[in-house]
Symmetry: C2
Subunit: 258 residues, 2 copies
């Protein structure tokens, strides 16, 4: 059983994960961040030692969790020299192969958006687990299950698809929210007026397939409303293009297909 952990990173994922692990009785040995202040701040919150130079990351922990920006994972992993421990990263899109020089390695990917200010109910966060061998896999699954009720064994191919799906469902939805905010602000209305509807739309699919609850002019193929909407966007070509493309898609793919 994994007992002692080193956290590499001091951002949102590192903070939420570190605090959740501490709460569940794990010991955090070290917190590494290239930014000294950040490493001190999080280390202090986690009863751990700070570290701002990868050379001084010790080999005393059972598990090393790399939760830093995607672009730097491979680089920091290369600087870790101990072999027998388990080393994981928490990214949705970085290959597990960047850890191939370790004996035991894997993925410990919490599929949630974290921000420092907002509390997250970690027990509801889906964790996607993968490892290079059965023993590491079992240990990581056991650890994830201590934190969360939503633990999935997900291979690298699937993880790529999850990330792609999340870009549509979350990054792109958020962009559509920002378009709607623009439209309202341009017409002297506050974005607040739409917020309850946005929340209800996301709640609705918690217990329904999105296909079954699709509504709107495109779903009804209501050409008059669609034409009016496209005209209203005459001065916003980019938004007009998005409106037309998604509308055409909904009309065409009424039953969904891939």
């Amino acid at each position: 059983m994994l007992k002692t952990i080193t956290i590499i990173g001091s951002g949102n994922v590192a903070t939420h994960l570190g605090k959740a692990l501490l709460k569940k009785g794990f010991s955090i040995n070290q917190v590494f961040s290239q930014n000294k202040d950040n490493s001190f701040e999080l280390a202090s919150a986690l009863n751990a030692m700070p570290c701002d130079d990868p050379k001084f990351i010790t080999d005393e922990s059972d598990l090393y969790i790399i939760c830093i920006k995607d672009d730097f994972i491979a680089e920091i992993a290369q600087q870790l020299v101990f072999k027998k421990k388990i080393v994981v990263h928490t990214s949705g899109s970085v290959s597990m192969d960047v850890l191939v020089h370790f004996d035991n390695y894997g993925i410990f990917y919490p599929l949630q958006t974290f921000s420092k200010k907002t509390e997250v109910t970690i027990s509801e966060v889906p964790f996607c687990i993968e490892a290079n061998n059965t023993d590491a896999q079992n240990q990581l699954l056991a650890l994830a299950k201590v934190l969360s009720n939503n633990v999935y064994e997900i291979n690298s191919e699937q993880r790529k698809k999850i990330h792609l799906a999340a870009v549509f469902a979350c990054n792109f939805s958020n962009y559509l929210y920002s378009i709607s905010e623009d439209i309202l602000n341009e017409n002297n209305m506050d974005f607040d007026i739409l917020k309850p509807l946005i929340l209800e739309t996301a709640k609705k699919i918690q217990h329904n397939s999105p296909k079954d609850v699709q509504t709107g002019p495109a779903k009804r193929n209501d050409q008059e409303v669609i034409k009016n909407h496209i005209n209203l966007l005459a001065n916003a070509k980019d938004y007009q293009d998005i409106y037309s493309l998604i509308t055409d898609n909904i009309i065409k793919n009424n039953n969904g297909k891939l």
Copy 2:
């Protein structure tokens, strides 16, 4: 002060609105639906008389709320003959002019998605109010404020823009959810894994501008991830087109513009 109300319609809006009004002490005189069973069912729930023929809609109420499908509002309004009462409809996209033959008329538009099964906290539903004269406007505002803490005076031009904004933020977001479900199902994963992230994305903008919390490969202009995602969608041209267009938009409009 408005005291007695006739509900024209028996769908989701009619049901939720009728029940909320009854709860607040208003009398519902009649419930009209062309479908006899529906008019009986809702009338019975609202202590009202059912009616399935527009000829028999009586002139005894202070207010007539037309909450039926957009396409039929003008038609039913033409069949109502009494003049001095207030007549409103609840649609986001139908012009107020379809009621122009009444002395007092307006819009009573609850900006929320209703389904019969799901409870709605009516006090949080934004109501968009408009009327053809000040007295009717004041009476409708007062009524809406009995039901909800989110009451807005919205003119017809603004209402069109709200509806357009809602299509982006809600109808189109829901379509993106369905794309993500397709991607997951195609790869033998359950849509459940994405639901917490979808909900958190909608919650995040309750207290932040979407522009300020935009994340993802397009926001970072991470061309490697973007290229991989587009390749993953090689067999789903429609979804690939949406991915490319929204990604290009995010990259281009990083600061938002209309």
